[in-house]
């Protein structure tokens, strides 16, 4: 995978070297007049200043601005023309070692250059004059380098996005695998007894048909007075009752009502599982609206009334909460799930359920606290995993909280849970007040 490669040091040096312009320096003793002539030479047109070098050391620069200030004065030329340029020059020029990095040089130059920009910088190596560098050049070089960096960053960001979605995909596949295992088990268990019951009932049905056939022969013999033959009739009676005995001895007949009931129960369990699975995978079709979570709580309480009535004391502490943008049906599903769990967790007759809503600058919080048996620490961390359940087989699919979690996350919110075994459990659902995260949240869950 390609991330940002650090530029090799040699590259940085050549970066600055690329900016080098060879400019013949002038001597400090050169007259201002001569220096000005030089400045006017076409080859120096791009330069803001000329270097003044003594021996091989840059001792100053003299700029166009210097010349302007002299030649625009009355008698400036007469007063200054003959004097050495050393009297005029800036003795503290911008000295840049050519071997340092472009970034360091650019930073140095940009913090030291005056405004308006009147001077370029001197390039040197080990204190020896090499030539001049243009401020404009170094800024342009920096700009291209920054945009190159930005491009690399952009690439790196794209790469990260790709690997992130791969990770998400892996996660999905992993939970899919887990889900398939759970579904297989949850379906095969009812399917096991359903199939066995149906097979046994089918055998029994065959026997019943025999019995019926024997007795109907017996019936028609009795009805037909002409062919009345006592021996035949006795034989037929014996056959019929033998068939009846077989049916009885098969042992299925007396249990048939229970077997039918269990079979229907099993088929319903599978149906319920299919519905849960559909809800689990389909979180899109829901329409968003501005809803008051207090209303949602009340609606859900109405639905669960039959479970709650007489068993649990409900304590409402609703705040005057702002609206949240949510799918009411989905959010109700979350509340229903948590409320049902809470009620089921209460195993004594002094059950209490505290429903509290409050808000801060960003969030609306719904907290649901029960004084039930609580959740053991090792189960608490698995509580949102698909198919994790502590309920007996047939009573819980283990999908409820996992779906709830998905729904709340899709709304850009969060569910937290805390529990003390023997004391109770608290669920805290937080939904964003604004709708800013909504779109991305739904995409992520889809």
């Amino acid at each position: 995978m390609l991330l940002i490669q650090p530029a090799p040091a040699a590259n940085a040096a050549s970066g600055l070297a690329a900016l080098l312009r060879e400019v013949a320096p002038i001597n400090p003793e050169t007259s201002v007049e001569d220096a000005a002539e030089k400045m006017l030479e076409p080859k120096h047109a791009g330069l803001l200043c000329l270097p003044v070098v003594l021996g091989n050391r840059a001792v100053g620069v003299v700029s166009r601005q210097h010349f302007n200030s002299i030649f625009l004065q009355r008698f400036g030329r007469d007063l200054w023309g003959r004097r050495p340029v050393a009297d005029l020059m800036n003795r503290q020029p911008l000295l840049v070692d050519i071997d340092q990095s472009l970034e360091a040089a650019a930073q140095f130059v940009s913090t030291r250059m005056g405004s308006p920009i009147s001077e370029d910088f001197v390039l040197m190596r080990d204190g020896k004059y090499l030539g001049m560098g243009l401020v404009l050049d170094i800024l342009a070089a920096m700009q291209s380098r920054v945009s190159q960096g930005a491009r690399k960053l952009e690439d790196a960001y794209r790469q990260l996005k790709v690997s992130q979605s791969a990770l998400v995909q892996n996660e999905k596949m992993a939970s899919l695998g887990q889900m398939v295992a759970g579904v297989a088990h949850e379906i095969n268990t009812p399917l096991g007894y359903v199939r066995n019951n149906v097979e046994m009932l089918q055998d029994m049905f065959g026997q019943m048909r025999d019995v019926l056939a024997q007795y109907s022969i017996l019936g028609s013999m009795l009805a037909d007075e002409n062919s009345f033959d006592e021996a035949d009739l006795t034989r037929q009676l014996q056959q019929a009752s033998a068939a009846g005995r077989d049916l009885q001895q098969g042992g299925v007949l007396e249990d048939a009502p229970t077997l039918f009931e269990d079979t229907l129960f099993g088929v319903d369990s599978i149906k319920e599982l299919a519905i849960n699975l559909r809800d689990f995978s389909r979180l899109d079709g829901a329409r968003l609206a501005d809803v008051n979570v207090n209303d949602c709580l009340d609606q859900t309480l109405t639905i669960t009334n039959n479970v709650l009535k007489g068993r649990v004391e409900i304590i409402k502490r609703y705040g005057d909460v702002p609206l949240v943008n949510a799918s009411p049906s989905q959010f109700n599903q979350v509340l229903l799930n948590i409320l049902t769990n809470a009620v089921q967790a209460i195993d004594h007759d002094k059950g209490k359920l505290l429903l509290k809503t409050e808000f801060d600058e960003q969030w609306v919080h719904v907290s649901i606290v029960d004084n039930g048996k609580g959740i053991a620490a090792e189960n608490l961390k698995k509580i949102f995993d698909p198919f994790f359940t502590t309920k007996p087989v047939g009573q819980g699919t283990g999908l409820g909280l996992s779906i709830s979690y998905q729904i709340v996350r899709a709304h850009g919110g969060n569910i937290q849970v805390g529990s003390v075994p023997g004391r109770g459990t608290r669920f805290l659902i937080s939904l964003p007040r604004t709708s800013s995260n909504r779109a991305t949240g739904l995409e992520a869950a889809a």
């Binding site: 295992a181 297989a184 088990h185 949850e186 379906i187 095969n188 268990t189 009812p190 399917l191 096991g192 007894y193 359903v194 199939r195 066995n196 019951n197 097979e199 046994m200 001895q249 098969g250 042992g251 299925v252 249990d255 229970t258 077997l259 269990d262 129960f265 099993g266 007996p392 087989v393 047939g394």
Partner: protein, 313 residues
Amino acid sequence: MNAPEARPSLLLIDDEERILRSLAVLFRSQYRLHITTDPQAALTTIAREPVHVVVSDQRMPLMSGADLLREVRRVSPNTMRILLTGYSELDAIVASVNEGEIFRYVNKPWMAAELRSTVEQASRIAIQMFAASPPAVDGRTPELASPDNAAILVIDDDPAVFSAVKDIVGYTQRVHHAQSLEQAFMLLEREPIGVIISELMVGRESLTAALKMLKSQHPEVVTIVMTPFRDTAVLVGLINQGQVYRILPKPLRAGPLGMNIASALRQHRLLSTSPVLRQRHVVEQISAPEELSVANRMMSFLGRLRGRATVRS
């Protein structure tokens, strides 16, 4: 109708009561039934009285089926153990073979007639086992600990496995190496093989059918499968149709492999001397068509093998 004491006893355990009800109706005319959802109660019953067959669910809240059957084996080794499970988890399969030494691994939903005949077969074997009461099924009887001439056959195209096995058994036992199915056939014909340590693939050929076939013809040969292969359906097939003795993972670990080879050799000796015990390792018929062709290829070879076995005994 049979008198109650004459009927074999069958213990059914599952955490879903509807499964138990359904199975009870299926079996109650032929068996003395013990029905429970509680593993501890099941073990208490098995310790108290002879139970011929146990049919256990795998996923139960208090104890897994594989763990329960391991305990059943410890408490009452003559009891035949069947695992009835809604979902094949690899760990459960491996544990039920290596620790529980189960007779059959049955998936839910099951076919009533098949399950009935499997349980019937198991109970017939168990009745003989209880009657014969063979010495220590787990093989700890001292007089059987002396080495005999049964050789070990390693079927694996990796020579490292062969030399590892040689290092483990030293000079006490002969070790042969086959790198293909044909080589394996030849060695089986020539040498008195007691224990096979086999991969599931050599070259590009699957060995599962051959291993199953061999067990069906020669129940006294003990098979250890050592493979990185993790397909649950194949492993279940090896239990039901191959009565594989151990399933070990790869890369091999010398310690566990050594212990398992030793117990496989003991097992082979037991099986060679006890026809009743051999029954215990009776296998299901192969049903998959692709495996039948390999099975047919083996037939002539097995005919000769059978001939030789008859001469020897």
